[in-house]
Amino acid sequence: MKFVLDAEQRMFGEALHKLLAEAGTPAVVRAWAAGSPAPGRALWRSLADAGVFALAVPESAGGVGPLPVELVTAFHEIGRHAAPGPIVETVAAATLLGRLGDEAPAATWLPGIAAGEAVVSLALPPAVPYALDADVADVVLAVDGEEVRGAAAGPVRASLDPARRLFPVVPGAVLAAGPAVRAAALEAYDMGVLVCAAQLVGVGRRLLEVTVEYAVTRRQFGRPIGEFQAVRHHLANVLVGLEYARPLVHGAALAAGSPEFARDVSAAKVAAGEAAYAAARVALQVHGAIGYTDEYDPSLWIRKARALYTAWGSPAEHRARVMAALARG
């Protein structure tokens, strides 16, 4: 039993951290929100070159996956750097396509996903009713009961996080149908919830990092605000929340394929969502007015934390899934 990332997994995370830091994601996110997806698409391809998307694609379709532990390692960094785009949705779509049984749509899209050439958005109602960034996606999939359809994007709905462009879907041609779709959709949802939780932990971690940095440098009433016990204790509580969300995410990743996967990804999403949102509230409170401004970078993570808090299932929905699983014993 060794319940920590092994050396290779750690190096993979550090490499992504370096890649994303050098990409200067804040500018990429602002461009994405402003409707200029080019830098985001470039970043997408470098994530693919680093092997991120292949982690979700089965070997049979040119990938190396599914590798849930490596995926949560990647999404921790993706959240930490607020990388834009339907990354969660594309990974969930890869899981969906890989599980359909029906080879045709898998063969059409999975190699492109693994290579970073296919940006996929996905609507998975009821928890995921809108397709994220559908205007930028190469394909939009919409699951409806036992059908997977190609879909067109309706009029955009603005989100609290301007880098999240949400679209109602207009279902088109049926790509796959049958009971296998229902099972595949459930697996896709669980995988989406898992990587969304990992992303939230990364978002919370960055918020803690920047807020600690601010508390050390910003002075008020003649001393660094990090000396005030109220600030210190707020930040300590944020750390505690994140420290206990991470093992739930890792534990859920290791439960992939087991009957506990759904229960464990829901537990991870609850803890990660609460920890990241608490981190956002404290980041805002400690930064004060400047944290409340669009132009100051912490706003990118503060908005994302709140948006992801209810995305891919609200905490209440996931608590209900946990208790339902426990009821079944």
């Binding site: 009713p129 996080d161 009433f221 805002l284 004060g288 669009d294 209810t310 209440a316």
Partner: protein, 375 residues
Amino acid sequence: MDLDLSPAEPFRAEVREWLRANVPAAPLPSLETEEGFAAHRAWERRLAEARLSVVSWPARYGGRDATPLEWLVFEEEYYAAGAPGRVSQNGVNLLAPTLFRHGTPEQLDRVLPRMASGEVIWAQAWSEPGAGSDLAALRATATRVDGGWLLNGQKTWSSRAAFADRGFGPFRSDLAAGRHRGLTYLMFPLDAEGVTRRPIGRIDGKPAFAELFFDDVFVPDRDVIGTPGEGWRVAMSTTGNERGLTLRSPGRFLAAADRLVALWHERADPADTALRDRVADAWIKARAYRLKGFETISRAEDVGAESSVNKVFWSELDLALHETALDLLGPEGELDGDWLEGYVFSLAGPIYAGTNEIQRNVIAERVLGLPRAAR
């Protein structure tokens, strides 16, 4: 002890009737846009024509000498009717009380009527980079010159300053004096020579406030409020208003809580007691805030440090209420709309007008009598 509101009922009926007839069917464009700002200014004129823009003021300045109870009732009706936000609120709630307390008759006659009519919209200019909640660290200066003062330096987080007409706030007029001394409280035009305003986007991108840069901006003596050098005392005398009832009247939260209850009945699963309990708490707290308001106006004495108690309570109530709404809306919660706008607005509550951490220090020292502590 009683809760007999009947003395204010005739006034309530008049206000309700007028609002029913006059509140625009479609919401005005956002207050934080140029177009919306103009629309809200026009709305203030209509309120003024009905002598409803500043009901608690003396009639000679455009008010109708309403009692505090009548004012609370007006606020309840105003927000219950879903009437537009008050673009003039910083002037009415922060500058006007300062003038009533420290202004000259000439200043009152010159400033108040045009404030009441919406002809002049005022922006508060207090905070500076490096001096948020810590007013004593202000650095923008007012230098004595013949017949007036020259303003230099920078102010920030000035609400509405992107589109407002005039500003007010304390400037450092005596660099030698100590942190709390040597401040002078001034009114100045935002379109004057030497004033540069840079709109700042709120966390949702809307330009809700602005940075102001001053380069030898001349202000005549008649626009000094109170005694030069006494700006700290002048400023402090109205911080209570900002934290207390006037800026956040109970009516605002009663209306929001009622809307939340309606949203719950409309959208929520009645069996979902987790949400139900949070909706109930929002309604209970809004009602508590209303009753506390009646308590406050029933007491003669000044609210003083009680305004800090108020501020902690309403800011946390407002945030919890809107978080509950977003959670109730589920995946729709992050989408643009009234509830999200209200949530974004509520996020600022625990920060501005003195962070809640500072308010808790004030409560600990002035209400509970705990020893003064540096940290």
